[in-house]
């Protein structure tokens, strides 16, 4: 026995409209706070797990492999140079509209790190290639606020 009456025209299907409106305010965390302040100071830090021999970037409070804590002694400077492991060029905005200027993103292994890092690739026109050596470009110091965007992006090493 059918429970559902077939509605032949979409306009006859009643819908109730509503919105869900909340704002997320996210702290950076114990490790994140310190890592972002590092960016503000023009440095990229990681944390190294001595048991697993693995260096995380961005720096983490704990190692997910062994659940050990990564304390003071685990903080190491990494980069600012690294190797490009992958890259892509994006043509669409999150809402599906076409970007005025396509955006290029890179997946980078910073020197001294094991975890991979994503950021913008600068210098349009560069023939990006996996394996290319790249270097971090920071914004001028007065413009840095303790944000991922204190880094402008990465460009080929000159």
């Amino acid at each position: 026995m059918a429970l559902i009456e077939r509605i032949l025209h979409a306009r006859d299907a009643r819908a109730w409209h509503g919105t869900i409106r909340l704002e997320g305010v996210y702290t950076a965390g114990v490790a994140g706070e310190r890592w972002l302040r590092g960016l503000q100071a023009g440095k990229i830090y990681g944390t190294r797990c001595p048991r697993c021999q693995y260096t995380y970037v961005p720096a983490r409070r704990f190692c997910e492999r062994c659940l050990g804590g990564l304390d003071e002694g685990a903080w190491v400077e990494v980069g600012p140079q690294g190797t490009l492991l992958s890259w892509t060029r994006v043509y669409l905005a999150p809402d599906g509209s076409r970007l005025a200027h396509p955006r290029t993103l890179g997946l980078i292994r910073l020197d001294g790190a094991d975890a991979l890092f994503i950021h913008d690739l600068l210098d349009e026109g560069t023939p990006w290639a996996v394996g290319m050596r790249v270097e971090a470009v920071f914004r001028p110091a007065p413009e840095r606020v303790g944000s991922l965007l204190d880094l402008q992006g990465f460009r080929p090493i000159r």
């Binding site: 009643r14 109730w16 409209h17 509503g18």
Partner: protein, 174 residues
């Protein structure tokens, strides 16, 4: 067990408001269009006509409001529409002095669960009471569990097929 409690870092509101810790913000903004469904679609259409309607399951005999096309207790389709009255009895009520985001309201609201006449006993709907006072004290004087109430409707041209086509329920006694 004190050893097994981690000394988590608590923050004060000022730490966030004054930017002493770094934060990022992102709105969670979802726009939704929920299909009313067969049962609620008809319920809304009847509200526009100034009527409440329920649904009967012949197996357990319940006349249910809000109406549903299946009985969740017998787990079978329900059988027929049942017109209901627009009067009822207050099962429980509250006097709410704050808004959804914890700000103080000027005039308290009186949400209530109201058993609708014609539906099975205890079949309540959520709505609000009105014409019962402007302050907490007045309202507590006026409202009682078990009180008889009557729906106050918007005029026909203002109704849109919504639960708010009923403005509120007011006391039936003088």
């Amino acid at each position: 067990m004190e050893r097994w409690v981690y000394p988590t870092t608590g923050l004060r509101p000022e730490d966030i408001e004054q930017g002493r810790v770094l934060t990022t913000r992102a709105p969670l903004r979802g726009e939704y269009a929920w299909d009313a469904g067969v049962a609620v679609g008809r319920f809304l259409a009847e509200l526009k006509n100034g009527r409440l309607i329920g649904r009967r399951c012949r197996s357990c005999g319940r006349v249910m409001i809000p109406p549903r096309m299946f009985c969740e207790q017998c787990f079978r389709p329900t059988d027929e529409w049942v017109p209901l009255a627009d009067t009822g009895t207050v099962i429980t009520f509250s006097v709410c002095t704050i808004s959804w985001d914890m700000r103080r309201l000027e005039v308290p609201e009186v949400p209530a669960v109201i058993a609708i006449d014609g539906a099975s006993p205890g079949m309540g709907i959520l709505h609000k009471l009105g014409e019962v006072g402007q302050t907490l004290e007045e309202i507590l004087q006026r409202v009682r569990v078990g009180m008889r109430v009557q729906a106050v409707w918007k005029p026909p041209h203002e109704r849109e097929g919504a639960i708010t086509d009923i403005r509120y329920f007011r006391p039936l006694e003088a």
